[in-house]
Symmetry: C2
């Protein structure tokens, strides 16, 4: 995590994606996830993304506005990934779209 | 992750805590983290919490309103944990407080 990379000018939005994976299709899942990351990062209004995988996976992506989030949700290749996600990869997921109102940080220097 | 546990009535807030740990003090860190989880979950306005640890750690807690978030930030035991966190446990952290505007979910049934 590069700290400066994750300082965005407000207003901006966080998309909190929490998911629980099925046990199947790990290789194709990783390929899809990497491809989506690559495409998402080139979309207009994309700011950054952070992810941690454990028993659950939490991915938070950051976007300039709701229009950019909607455009990415409806991107053709993302739609295909969403269908495969429901068919194969996810037991459960939840998406929350939230407007960042306050923020602060700490650096051990 | 129990799905129904994570459906909250809007308006509500997400506190996105992304962090990078130091390599020291793992046992005392875990004790503190468990204690904070226990105390936080008893606070007024607390709704839920989800966490995933990987190269970075992402913890998202959910709260009824900004007052509840502020009260927890200033809770005496949490203040002590924050000081120790800065002294020992964290290389970096960032806190974002965001109002959830939209949400949707998927269950593989």
């Amino acid at each position: 995590m590069s700290e400066n990379k994750y300082n965005f000018r407000r207003p901006y939005y966080a998309v909190i994606f929490t998911s629980k994976r099925t046990s199947v299709e790990n290789k194709s899942y990783r390929e899809m996830a990497n491809l989506m990351l690559d495409i998402a990062s080139k979309q207009k209004g994309f700011l950054g993304i952070e992810s941690a995988r454990d028993e659950i996976c939490i991915t938070v992506s950051y976007w300039q506005n709701l229009e950019a989030i909607k455009a990415w949700k409806n991107h053709a290749k993302h739609l295909i990934a969403q269908i495969n996600g429901k068919l194969k990869w996810y037991e459960y997921y939840k998406v929350r779209i939230a407007k960042v109102e306050h923020e602060y940080e700490f650096h051990n220097s």
